[in-house]
Amino acid sequence: MPRYKIADVVFDAKLIYGYTEKLCKKYEYDGDEPVKFVAEVTQEDIKAEQVLAEEFPPAYLESLALFRKLCNYCLKNANGIVFHSSAIAVDGNAYLFTAPSGTGKSTHSRLWRELLGDRAFMVNDDKPMVRYEDGAFYVYGTPWNGKHRLDTNCKVKIKAICAISQAKENSIRKATTAEMLITILNQTIRPQDQEDMDKLLKLIEKMLTEVELYKLGCNISREAAELSYKTMSGDNL
């Protein structure tokens, strides 16, 4: 049974297909930290994923089912939530670009890498985990890394969250907590259980008050990346 450490949570996984093992390879763990839980993916779990995303093969759905179990554990026990976003790290600070699929968050973080070169690296391009620890928010790489397969097995302190929309002209401003609350709720997994829902909302509330929030309208250009990077980092390049 493979053992993984993802978002600083050590767990064993009982899997059916080989795909998920391959996907999670980089996160295999053979250290001494205690195993927090066993994630057993069953055919029922895979069927449940199929209801949500029917066009995918079972092996892929299994990886989603494992992800859901990890998210569930993190919310219940580790102050952790998944945040559908493209998370990039620069000089030890992480920036999370979020938007509905297809808006261009991966494109924008690619523009940052082109602008900043070796100073920037991807934490995760699609489904990073966010955890609240010792009074600060951190983002973790996970194997669920999006279509460009970009992730690093790492932990970086979050500096800012930025909601992206497409626009002809580039502009950026601080986002209100009201705007960002809805954005975050739409880009995470919402639990059915009321106690878990309250945990989620408490975490989001902390995030809204402790992390810088921005709204960016952008086109695909170096200027767009310059504007968002300079504004959010305070670095004039």
């Binding site: 907590t177 609350l181 919402r190 059915q192 009321q194 829902m197």
Partner: protein
Amino acid sequence: MKIKDGFILREVAGNYIVVAVGNAVKDFNGVITLNETGSFLWKKLEKGATEEELKTALLEEYDVTEEIATRDIGLFVKKLTDAGLVK
């Protein structure tokens, strides 16, 4: 008129939202935002209230004319009914 089970009002960083939990998730998967007056009326409806009772409560709590209170409550109740949140 009463809010159906499974719809919960929460204040998050000064913002009022309603989300579904438990079996209600099957019927409603969105997020509703309410302003302060909306959350005031919602809390009354959690315990069950008629439109008349809502109006009395609103007039007591807020500096608003009866005409506007009646109109706003009508709109609010219609929205909740259309979204299937009340029984």
